[in-house]
């Protein structure tokens, strides 16, 4: 039996990945001896779970912390706080699994297809690197490379000996996806993985991602600023604003019946594809504020058309509305907001 295939342990109901209370603040410049130093609150007390076999989409604007989330989930950076559990095993804790073991089961594809490949290794060497490092004999590693290249639609005879600069952007991103699959991971984190590709190539890669997922039984965390692509791929969607989750739920609920004013604004800011129904008015004004000094209370309140006193005083908790979870005082009964839902949890 191939010992390199991680096995399902907890059954289908146990989340593949559970992250609780993740926090990452980055100190920035200024201050003598660390006094009065400012911090970027990139990710603040974020809790999420990824179910086996699903695609979790993560959307938000630049600076919202979505890429920091990706890096935390694969431990490219260490969280200041919070815990992670991979299929029942705590990560980096005495009775759990090591960070190395996590990275074998969780892999990542980055936006820049060129920067993420070693220019001095052939495609074949790049793909064989990790399997060899994990003890696969050279002959088997070669076989694995051929198999990986055909999986991502590149002819092994034609591509294994080439160098990254000889490939187009779309081909390079296929190689990056193949490399992410080389250790047969269970979870693949795709951080803006199709954003740099031209539309005609993007469609090819999206189709391939859908095929690979069902063929290999993968789970995806798909991070993107492109709401249409996230809608296309995801089962559930997480919307972030300034380091916080503002809304989380099934793709149908988020796109069909968004509850948070920010989610609504984000969705209606999409350019129209119909020249007869052009956008008449921008849904919100201004730019996202600087994450160094986020507003008190609800971080969206400075751009929110419904902001009231309570929004500045108290931070809204992520609350279940029946279909999705929303962090907005208007969705929390008795929050003190004049538009707050009354009685039960069900929002309009």
């Amino acid at each position: 039996m191939d010992t390199m295939i991680p096995v399902d342990r907890g059954g289908p109901a146990q989340p593949l990945l559970l992250a609780t209370g993740l926090r990452k603040h980055f100190p920035v410049g200024g201050g003598i001896l660390g006094r009065g130093r400012k911090v970027v609150r990139a990710v603040d007390d974020l809790t999420l779970s990824v179910a086996k076999g699903e695609t979790l989409g993560v959307v938000g604007e630049s600076g919202c912390g979505k890429s920091t989330v990706a890096r935390l989930l694969i431990r490219l950076i260490k969280p200041d706080r919070g815990t992670m559990v991979l299929d029942g095993d705590p990560v980096d804790e005495p009775h759990g699994i090591t960070v190395n073991e996590l990275r074998r089961q969780v892999q990542m594809v980055f936006q820049d297809s060129y920067a993420s490949l070693n220019p001095r290794l052939t495609i074949g060497e790049t793909l064989a690197f990790a399997p060899k490092a994990h003890g696969l004999p050279a002959a088997e590693a070669r076989e694995r490379v051929r198999d990986l290249l055909s999986k991502v639609g590149l002819d092994p005879n034609n591509y294994a000996e080439r160098y990254p600069h000889e490939l187009s952007g779309g081909q390079r991103q296929r190689v990056n996806i193949a490399r992410a699959l080389a250790l047969r991971p269970r979870l693949v984190i795709l951080d803006e993985a199709v954003s740099a590709l031209d539309k005609s190539v993007e469609a090819q890669v999206l189709n391939m991602l859908v095929d690979l997922k069902s063929e290999l039984g993968l789970t995806y965390v798909f991070i993107s600023h492109d709401l249409n692509v996230v809608q296309y791929l995801s089962d559930r969607v997480l919307v972030m604003y300034l380091g916080k989750i503002v809304e989380l739920g099934p793709v149908e609920a988020i796109y069909g019946n968004p509850q948070h004013p920010y989610t609504r604004a984000l969705l209606s800011a999409r350019p129209s594809m119909d020249p007869r129904k052009r956008t008449k008015e921008a849904p919100i004004q201004g730019d996202p504020p600087n994450p160094i000094d986020p507003p008190s209370g609800c971080r969206f309140r400075t751009r929110c058309p419904f902001a009231e006193d309570v929004c500045a005083r108290a931070e809204p908790a992520l609350s279940d509305t029946g279909h999705q979870s929303v962090a907005c005082h208007m969705s929390i009964a008795g929050s003190g907001h004049s538009k707050a839902v009354r009685g039960g949890a069900a929002a309009a």
Binding site: D198, A203, H225, L266, S272, P275, A282
Partner: protein, 320 residues
């Protein structure tokens, strides 16, 4: 009715010691005052090269031009340096994708706008600053008097782009060239800037050429859309015609492969392959290697741009 801009059979090639790139291979179009033409294309399609040629922004010693670009009747490709300096900024203005690199970081935004106004109109410094403040108000930058004194890095991305639009409009140009001006902006900011450009275009009766790779953006701003592929316009039509009934196989493929609402679960109709290398002049249709309707005559000679309707032009042998 006379055209504001007329581009005829424009060819642009770049020469370096080891290779020649045929970036634009015979582009023709015209633009009327008050009209917005969207140029849609993928990277390497020649859309930005075409746009920059209108201001002759390419390095002179490495660039070969042929064809004609007439701005209000004046031939841009034959202009001397003085006429070019007058063209750039005063008659034709341009906004770029990255406002952070378009502004000089060591001068305030106010100084840079005022300098342009003084240079082109000969106004006094006081008058130029007064005008700069009005311009910032025009592009709806809050507290404009303070913002005049701000350095580019002190502004957010959206505000910098507004400031660049103010700079572009400072000398009342009749043509505005926009090179992916909203691509680097966040979604909620992008739509604000698109609406601003649309509004100013109407208010000043500007001709606008808007280059983008995003179909949605092109649909929001354009009266007509030209689709470029491998240095040629393969289809040119009114925005409604283009969205409702694209005719060129590439335009059709591009629209079909763009993900939008309600496509979940469907397989995307991807165009196979990748755009061609521009080092060689193609003998036939550049899109033929990727086209599912390819016929033998597609590879023998480049197809000409044919009219399939009053205002609909298609560069394909299949177009009736």
């Amino acid at each position: 009715m006379s055209d504001l801009l007329q581009v005829r059979d424009l060819h642009v090639t770049f020469k370096t010691p080891d290779r020649t790139v045929h970036a634009v291979n015979g582009v023709s179009f015209e633009l009327k005052r008050g009209e917005t033409l969207g140029i849609l294309g993928e990277s390497g399609s020649g859309k930005s090269v075409t746009l920059r040629s209108i201001l002759r922004l390419h390095p002179e010693h490495r660039t070969r031009w042929s064809g004609s670009i007439r701005m209000e009747g004046d031939e841009v490709l034959e202009m001397g340096s003085r006429a070019l300096a007058d063209l750039r900024g005063r008659r034709v203005a341009m906004i770029f994708q990255e406002p952070a690199t378009a502004f000089d970081p060591v001068f305030t935004v106010g100084q840079q706008i005022a300098e342009t106004i003084r240079r082109h109109t000969g106004k006094s410094e006081t008058d130029a600053f007064k005008r700069a403040k009005e311009l910032l108000e025009l592009v709806r930058i809050p507290s404009p008097a303070q913002r005049l004194k701000a350095y580019p890095h002190e502004m957010s991305g959206g505000m910098r782009q507004r400031a660049m639009i103010a700079l572009a409009l400072s000398c009342n140009p009749s043509l505005l060239l926009a090179d992916e001006p909203t691509t680097a902006l966040d979604a909620t900011v992008q739509i604000q800037v698109l609406l601003l450009i649309r509004e100013l275009q109407r208010e000043f009766d500007l001709g606008v050429i808007f280059v983008t790779h995003d179909i949605g953006v092109a649909v929001e701003v354009s009266d007509r859309i030209g689709v470029m592929y491998a240095g040629k316009i393969v289809e040119l039509a009114g925005v409604e015609q283009m969205v409702d009934a694209p005719q060129h196989p590439y335009s059709r493929g591009l629209l079909a492969s763009t993900v939008h609402d309600g496509m979940r679960g469907q397989r995307l109709e991807a165009i196979p392959g990748a755009p061609p290398d521009l080092a060689e002049v193609p003998t036939g249709c550049s899109f033929a290697p990727r086209c599912k309707f390819v016929r033998p005559d597609c590879t023998t000679a480049p197809p000409s741009l044919r009219a399939t309707g009053d205002t609909h032009l298609v560069r394909c042998v299949l177009a009736a």
